[in-house]
Symmetry: C2
Subunit: 336 residues, 2 copies
């Protein structure tokens, strides 16, 4: 049930070039990650590494490395900041799985299913603490400000999402405010700290931040589309997870607003009240298809992807710039 959306990017949809260009730095990041999950409390490296070594793409830390390179940064600080970004992301996933009561993460059992909610909460806290320690070691107060502000905004976004859960009246702006905070803010911060370390001027820092913010929005939009039409093995989660959890994502917002009264009654029963019966997921996907909700969600993602690409327009051509452009195409083409 693939979603076919024409995507008119001049760039191949691949992160192969990005991965190759940052590979030497990424090896140092991986070493830092391994060193910092170490603890005499054996449960900590077990839980942390279960998730960290579970084959995530490491897109966020790669962005930190790529932006440092794009900015001509010659120091070492980007390694620890990149590891800190991955730790912040991992902490968020550990806490999210507890909040969402998820069973699976990246095609494996969620940490909370193996070690319990308690360990997931606390190891998340440990990783957040380690992330801040690494940032402090780098010693850039500006980078610290960016990443610590992001940590607060992300948590705020998660609480917003909690408040919006089951509320089928959520509109597109409210949905966007949530995904900006819970997802895009970390992409933005990850991209911003590289040029900050390199001492770039305000407008270049703002360009990198804008690339990250808009890429993050596009990324989350595609994720939310994939939840109603992706392949389980590829995503590492199941089609319909958001539906079963009562999450109000853009495909739902569009279908609800474009639907008839009886369709809205369906959404209110299933997502609003959480009364989900056999066949309801198929009905939901049918309604989304009828109202072009998935295509339009991916269309919105293309819009933000274009802003991300344009944000870097003034940066002179280079292979790393090309890699960042291809990354935008990759994030959107996941929906094919």
């Amino acid at each position: 049930m693939a979603v076919v959306v024409p995507f008119e990017s001049p760039h191949p949809a691949s992160i192969e070039r990005l991965t190759r260009l940052v590979a030497p730095d990424m090896e140092r990041v991986n070493n830092a990650i391994l060193a910092r999950t170490g603890s005499e409390v054996t449960m900590i490296p077990e839980v942390a590494n279960h998730l960290i070594s579970s084959g995530g793409k490491r897109l966020r830390p790669m962005l930190t490395l790529a932006m440092a390179r794009l900015s001509g940064y010659a120091g070492d600080g980007h390694i620890k900041l990149s590891a800190a970004v991955e730790f912040m992301h991992t902490a968020t996933l550990l806490h999210d799985d507890v909040v969402d009561q998820s069973d699976m993460r990246r095609g494996k059992q969620a940490a909370r299913m193996l070690w319990g909610n308690e360990a997931s909460v606390l190891v998340g806290d440990f990783l957040l603490g380690q992330a801040f320690k690494m940032m402090v070691e780098v010693g850039s107060l500006q980078a610290l400000d960016i990443l610590s502000s992001a940590a607060a905004v992300i948590a705020e976004g998660e609480v917003m999402q909690l408040g919006a859960a089951k509320n089928t009246a959520t509109n597109e702006d409210e949905y966007l405010a949530v995904i900006r905070a819970k997802t895009a803010e970390l992409f933005a911060a990850a991209c911003e700290v590289g040029p900050v370390l390199a001492g770039k001027d305000k407008s270049e820092i703002a360009a990198c931040r804008s690339y990250g913010m808009n890429l993050g929005i596009a990324f989350q939009l595609v994720d939310d589309a994939l939840d109603y039409g992706g392949k389980s093995a590829k995503l590492g989660k199941n089609v319909g997870d958001d539906f079963r959890e009562g999450k109000i994502t853009l495909p739902v917002v569009l279908s609800f607003r474009r639907g008839s009264d009886s369709e809205r009654a369906f959404w209110n029963r299933t997502l609003g009240k959480g009364e989900v019966n056999d066949g309801d997921l198929d009905t939901a996907m049918g309604l989304m298809s009828k109202h072009h909700a998935i295509e339009d969600t991916v269309g919105r993602a293309r819009h933000y992807g274009a802003i991300a690409t344009d944000a870097l327009a003034l940066v002179p051509a280079s292979e790393i710039k090309t890699a960042l452009e291809e990354t935008v195409a990759f994030c959107i083409a996941r929906a094919h």
Copy 2:
């Protein structure tokens, strides 16, 4: 069922003097706390203020203020660091209540009972993020290092405690390692950042840290004693909570090690396997009385309290020094 332990301190057991001396600064801290729990996401101030305004003693932020004053600090940074310390503490409590599945906190319903585990996890994350933002604003990398390291150590201590739960074979050293990390480290960090801001030399910073660390150990030892003999209204939690949760605290460690085989079988059934019947709490308290486990726990607290007081011995006499000495006496006398 008060525990009577002779306490030979030359200082009155009161925090009245400490409270009075830091009152003007504390008002500024309270304003900072109110300002930083603000969010357009209404659930955040609700959950945060439920706990923050629930009448905790604010001992940790008061210590930060007192140590800044003891060090002759003339700037403003101690206000935000003090608020950050209280936020770190509040975040820990929110996450602890989820981990321990507690119903009550400070004589009120725990936040998780009113807003759910989800909100407690996420608002804790938000407060941690805000704490780091305030630290960054103060701009002292050394203070940032101390507090971010403390955040990682605290989480590590909580995971250690999780691993030690139900393990009746835990010895006193292992128990001490847990309470050093989960409780005393924040007391130590709270005390250390004041002299750091004031630019004091290494030995003075170490003295303040040592005071905080040992006071924190004494504080937790007394807390653990009170759990088997305190008054519910005063503590805001119920006698026997630790027993019902299978927590292995020093009163249990001592009773288990000093007991007979049949007594050890009792501890293994109740705390190890969690099979608690009516009357078991009374039996447990009877065994603790028989083996002087509560008195000896408070005796250990006196030992650490004395180290805390001696840590400040080289500091010239002043009213704030007297207040800090009385605070040690206060923390221990809670067991009366």
